[in-house]
């Protein structure tokens, strides 16, 4: 990146670079072809760092790069052994805390959690599986909410709203018992396009549009062809 007026200088993993003022670290890294893994982050929606995947270190403090704006002279650690280990642990945590059976999942190949597991070379999670009992909510005529696969990332909560700003999805309970639920009233009259959008915005296979499995066969899907993050890294 060239230095211009609306640019400031930051350093990512020792590499000095100029980035757009006012952008977040994730965006700034992206414009320089540096991939910082994200999962709950969704472009266009207010970031809320729930998954903690994009954790970087600034001044030896862990910060989430989807929420932290860049400042002049900021020095960021990103692709380090320590941070990659934290990120891998987070993916493993998400796998063991739900019931994720990739071969039987409609989203396999398009799933960001799965793609990140490949990127971080997860084989068997280091943590014991908890095999929680979760419900499948198929009460809405338009979508299925598959709680076994939900990672509580909030994307649907942030992006799927009606014209008055009412939320279709919301958190329920707290801690271990936290789940994302579909509003029973709004869910009953969900428009088609919103239901499809909900499915698309879900990074995993927890929101499924009813009456249609998939268009694309496994093997030809998004992350079957290239690993997650490569679209940023190949775009320098």
């Amino acid at each position: 990146m060239e230095k211009t007026n609306n640019k400031i200088r930051i350093t990512i993993d020792g590499k000095r670079t100029y980035v757009t003022k006012g952008s977040t670290i994730v965006e700034a890294a992206k414009e320089n072809g540096i991939y910082i893994p994200t999962l709950c982050h969704f472009e266009g929606a207010d970031p809320k760092a729930c998954c903690r995947m994009c954790t970087v270190k600034i001044n030896n403090r862990m910060m989430t790069s989807c929420t932290t704006p860049v400042t002049e002279g900021m020095e960021i650690e990103n692709d380090t052994e320590e941070l990659n280990e934290v990120r891998k642990s987070i993916i493993e945590l998400l796998f063991v805390s739900g019931n994720h059976f990739c071969p039987a999942c409609e989203k396999s190949g398009n799933c960001e959690l799965q793609a990140l597991a490949y990127r971080y070379k997860m084989l068997v999670p280091r943590f014991p599986y908890s095999f929680p009992r979760k419900e499948v909510d198929a009460s809405s005529p338009k979508i299925i909410k598959e709680q076994n696969r939900c990672i509580a990332c909030k994307r649907c909560i942030k992006t799927i709203r009606d014209e008055h700003g009412k939320h279709y999805f919301a958190y329920k309970n707290r801690g271990q018992h936290l789940e994302v639920i579909l509003d029973p009233v709004l869910g009953d009259t969900m428009p088609d396009d919103l239901a499809k959008k909900a499915m698309e915005n879900c990074p995993v296979g927890s929101i499924l549009y009813k009456e249609k499995g998939f268009d694309q066969p496994i093997g030809t899907r998004k992350y079957d062809k290239q690993p997650i993050g490569s679209e940023i890294e190949n775009n320098v």
Partner: protein, 628 residues
Amino acid sequence: MAEKSKINQLLAQFGYDKTRLMDILLSINEMQGFVGQEDMQNISDSLGISMAQVQETLSFYHFLSQKPRGKYNIYLDSSIIAFMNGREAVKEAFEKYCGISFGEVSDDGLFGLFNTSCIGMNDQEPAAIINDKVFTNLTPYRVMNLVEGMRAGKHIDDLVYEDYGNGNNSDPDVRAMVNNHIRKKSIILKNDYEPYSLLKSKLKDYSPEEVISEIEASNLRGRGGAGFPTGLKWRFGRRTEGKHRVIICNADEGEPGTFKDRVMLTEYQELVFEGMVVAAYATGADIGLLYLRYEYKYLLRFLNRKLAKMREDHFLGKNIAGVKDFNFDIRIQLGAGAYVCGEESALIESLEGKRGEPRDKPPFPVEKGYLGYPTIVNNVETLATAVKILHHGAEWYSNFGTKDSLGTKLLSISGDCRYPGIYEVEWGTSIREILAMSGADDVQAIQVGGPSGMLIGLKDINNLDNSELMKWYKPSGMMIAEKFFDRRLSYSDLPTGGSIIIFNNSRNLLREVVMNFMDFFIEESCGSCSTCRNMPLLMKNKLQKILDGHGIRKDIYDLLNWGKVLKASRCGLGQAAGNPILSSVFHFRHLYEQRIQSLTSFDSGFDLGKATATSSEFVNKKPAFHHF
């Protein structure tokens, strides 16, 4: 279901304002004991939010219910001190006389039994909240009488078995069986100050800028535990542009083992309110909020009376203290049972009627807080201290404490000591002195700063991996062993929000204490971060494996490594959620080493005999297992 007209009346009372959802839900909950599906629908229709959003807030808070609870609801404190003082027998008595288990409501709708996190009564445990009234020093015999009285349909006030407590605990608007237990007074607690003197005379001679400078000169730091410089916080708040500015007093002390704010609000609430007014003057704030934890609801009427008196005396309202255009008022917001709301940004979310989920920072509350306005959140003790500093001057204040930590700190001391209670000590006081003043003998360990703090103990053996651990593990407080008893309370050595819990040698630190603390963090996580939602339970299960005799050395290393991930959590609760285990590995490594199988390098923790016990019993056959 409450009548729709009543709900509508309530909604109108709160101006159909969705940011007042907490009050709406609390009122309905108080009126009928729960908030049902139809109520949620009514609220949703009127406030312009979906039912799921109403439920999002409703289902977050421990004292709000979606199902009918009992006519008498018993919330029994589950803090470690309660257990040490005989909670188990009290719990059994409740179950026996009520005829139900904890977590249940009796079929006749008479009783509901619930566990609840520390209610701030560690100096008089076991204690319970029954229909918003606190019952202290419970015994099985007292439980028997209580339940008899409830069966006879007595009013909750008629079930009180002890005198009302000392000081304002006996005030007609409080009437609580709670005692203050103030054991040591220093510059804050000393009764040498006529309330509101500052507002009456001095304040108008100071400019807001001078007030901030004086607080900065005193080096006052936040007393909630984090220790952010108060003067700087006020300066930031003043500097940020906003249509309104907000002063929030954080009275949501939920750290197990602290009860100092309870005593401050009971006896020194005028100092606290005055501190809020002074902070408002300094920062140019016009909105004041005090967030009171639900557990202290018994103080609400009393505190509101004090505020009404202040309005009458023109210490709140318009042109306060004769300063033209200095307008400020205080509203008390009741919490509904969530430890995490003590975190300032979670507290603000809660004040806005949402689930108490911490915010990402930046932006900090001083930039963008309550309803987006610049907001200064200060601890109860900080605000009271600010008044004394301004009254006597920063120079006077510098005579107390140590160089890096000036002044005094209120400690809530409980556990194995003769005199549990509130002690105001100067910073720089050593652990050894604290033990001496509270009358503690035969001490095994001290928990400084509550569960999110650190365990300090007698011996420090075999710390092979501690150097590695200390590279990243910076506890906000700790469990301390005797070797470290000469360490002193200060922001640079042992910072603390004031919770001090003492354990003698009869206590089983891992099985009783650490497990209890882990349960606390698992219960109180908001669940938003993937790390804090999932990791504490995994760590607890791992410790259970070790306690069950299935541990191997790798399990100890796993605990240390897994704990690191929690440091990536958003807030202090999440970052501290592994501390009970991490600090006990650090200071009590031998307790772990004793329990692992030193000659075994693999043990899955799975017990085949146990897993098949039910079916074996059913077929009445004992299988012969071969070890492989």
